[in-house]
């Protein structure tokens, strides 16, 4: 029974990994660009949620929306002011741009919020659901279900709508898309907004159940790399499955080997993947 409990917990956390990793994979699919600051976007989403609850007394819907919106704006600003200028430049500039951004955001957060762990004050969602002996805290359950729904919505947005087709057209061939009357800069800014927004809302969802500090960004960023590599770069459905799998693996390794090993096992899996199947589960080589 304890094992079933662990599995459910892992899948619920994995759903959130799926959500923020789909943002990372979207950027990669659009423009072959790795965002080293993606984990910091998740971390900022958590603090946005905290500020909304503490200052405005907002509920889950309010702080979820606020985190998504704030990070969407940040993503667009980052694209327009930074990424647009380095994305066709040398590799060094591409990697340093977001790596530097990650440091800037992380240490600014340390400076403002201190290194102490914080958690969200009691939100209106509380209580525990008991399904056939498996206990599910309501905030975790709501967060997990919402995360999967949002990931799926992102997938639908990309595959079923005009905007999605335009995004994919730019990803396919920037110049051809331009000839079709699509403005690539606008589409890529939108992609950065969506990616950062999904990270922000994922952070807000996680903030409901887990305490955090500014350093969690690094862990989440690396987790997203592993999820995206496992799922195949550029594939949103891949990120969804892989997120659930990684959440499960983490929960099980914490259960079997001890909590400190959950990240070690996941990063080791990443190295193994690079050796054995770098294209991931659903990606093309």
């Amino acid at each position: 029974m304890l094992l079933a409990q662990v599995i459910v917990g892992g899948l619920l956390l994995g759903a959130i990994y799926a959500l923020f990793s789909s943002g990372l994979t979207l950027i990669w699919g659009m423009m072959n660009f790795i965002n080293f600051a993606h984990g910091e976007f998740v971390m900022l989403g958590m603090y946005v949620a905290l500020l909304v609850v503490v200052w405005l007394g907002g509920g889950p819907a309010a702080f979820g929306f606020a985190a998504a919106f704030a990070l969407f704006v940040l993503g667009v600003v980052v694209y327009l002011s930074l990424i647009r200028h380095v994305m066709r430049g040398p590799m060094l500039a591409q990697i340093l741009s977001t790596f530097g951004l990650a440091l800037l955001l992380r240490y600014t957060a340390f400076w403002i919020f201190s290194a102490n762990f914080v958690s969200l004050p009691q939100v209106s969602l509380s209580g525990t659901l008991n399904v056939a002996g498996i206990l599910m805290p309501v905030p975790q359950l709501v967060a997990g279900v919402a995360a999967i729904a949002l990931t799926f919505a992102l997938h639908l947005l990309l595959t079923r709508t005009t905007v999605g087709s335009q995004l994919l057209a730019v990803a396919e061939d920037r110049n051809a898309a331009m000839l079709m009357g699509i403005r690539p800069d606008r589409m890529q800014a939108l992609a950065w907004g969506l990616a950062a927004g999904s990270a922000g809302i994922a952070g807000a969802l996680m903030a409901m159940s887990y305490p955090w500090s500014p350093s969690v960004g690094e862990t989440f960023g690396l987790t997203a790399f592993v999820v995206v590599t496992l799922g195949g770069f550029g594939s949103v459905p891949g990120a969804m499955y892989a997120g659930l799998i990684i959440g499960l693996i983490q929960a099980l390794s914490a259960y079997w080997f001890g909590p400190i090993y959950k990240d070690i096992v996941v990063y080791a899996l990443f190295v193994a993947l690079l050796w054995l199947r770098p294209q991931g589960l659903m990606g093309k080589a």
Binding site: A93, F99, L101, D263
Partner: protein, 319 residues
């Protein structure tokens, strides 16, 4: 420029007598260590254009093995240096072999993930002191323990190592291997089509870089006589190498020297001004500098100077 190199050498040789006292010597040693590590990073990150953001894995291994040799068997720490280098070369293979087949981003991601993996692992491993870390001999049992009370001997040991690293880089720059590296950086596909053994060359560059980075780590731990997971494998160790090299000019021989010349005094100053809380501000500043560099001047001071120098010369002519 003809007199540039002898002047620089003389300046570095006599620095401890120009600015005397432990405070300035300490800055000098920190400068040399930053220059050594960044020069080592530069071989793979600058010349080959393979941007590692996890070079702390080599630094940490190099830093841990000497103190581990002392801790386990009471050997002089120096005895652990070759072992550290060997482990670092092995690590370079583990990271480089798979990722150098793939696009450049995989290498960057793998370096940061492996460095973090090792940092967490070492923090839980009792044999190497877990989270507390390891200590070297408190009092030297002989000169071979390399525990000096004064900073001065360390200054000259570090200076000698820096000379070796720079000379090696200089030789690499002139060799066929160096041309291969630049060709790969300029365009991997084109290089391959011209017969450059791309993967092999990148791997060699990484191993050479790992060797010197490991050596830098050893120097650090032998001098401080203490190492823990954060000061060995922490991400800030990697950041320091990247920013020093990129600020001075990645892929330029003296780039790391220039970068260290700017950053080390800056870091000392911010730590003095802001006290203990200064380190956080230092890294905000570092992040900002890295972003601005990437955005406006990815070639660092080196390329900036190459652009500005002719303009200055022309103005002087006109006047």
């Amino acid at each position: 420029m003809k007199w540039g190199l002898p002047a620089l050498a003389a300046l570095l040789l006599f620095y401890p007598f120009i600015l005397t006292g432990p405070f300035y010597w300490d800055i000098g040693v920190a400068f040399l260590l930053a220059a050594i590590s960044a020069s080592a990073w530069n071989i793979v990150g600058g010349y080959a254009g393979q941007v590692s953001v996890g070079h702390s894995m080599f630094f940490g291994v190099g830093a841990y093995t000497p103190l581990l040799f002392y801790h386990l068997w009471g050997l002089p720490p120096v005895a652990g240096v070759p072992a550290g280098i060997l482990v670092s070369l092995g690590l370079a293979l583990v990271v480089g072999m798979p990722t150098f087949r793939l696009q450049g981003h995989y290498f960057s991601m793998a370096t940061i993930a492996v460095a973090e993996l090792i940092r967490i692992f070492v923090g839980t491993w009792d044999l190497v002191g877990a989270a507390i870390g390891l200590q070297g001999p408190a009092v030297g049992r002989g000169w071979w323990d390399l525990t000096f009370r004064s900073e001065l001997p360390y200054y000259y040991i570090f200076l000698a190592v820096l000379a070796v690293v720079l000379y090696t880089t200089f030789e690499v720059e002139r060799s066929r291997f160096g041309y291969y590296l630049r060709a790969i950086k300029a365009g991997e596909r084109a290089a391959r089509s011209l017969g450059v053994p791309v993967r092999e060359t990148k791997l060699k560059a990484l191993m050479l870089s790992a060797l010197f980075t490991s050596l830098a780590g050893s120097l650090y731990s032998i001098k401080t006589g203490f190492i823990d997971p954060e000061s060995g494998f922490g991400i800030l160790v990697s950041v320091q190498m990247v920013i020093v090299a990129a600020l001075g000019g990645a892929g330029a021989l003296f780039g790391p020297l220039v970068g260290a010349l700017i950053l080390v005094p800056l870091q000392t100053a911010t730590n003095t001004w802001f006290g203990g809380g200064g380190s956080g501000l230092t890294y905000i500043l570092y992040g900002g500098i890295i972003v601005l560099l990437a955005r406006f001047e990815p070639g660092g001071m080196h390329e900036w100077w190459q652009r500005v120098a002719p303009l200055l010369a022309r103005r002087k002519h006109a006047a």
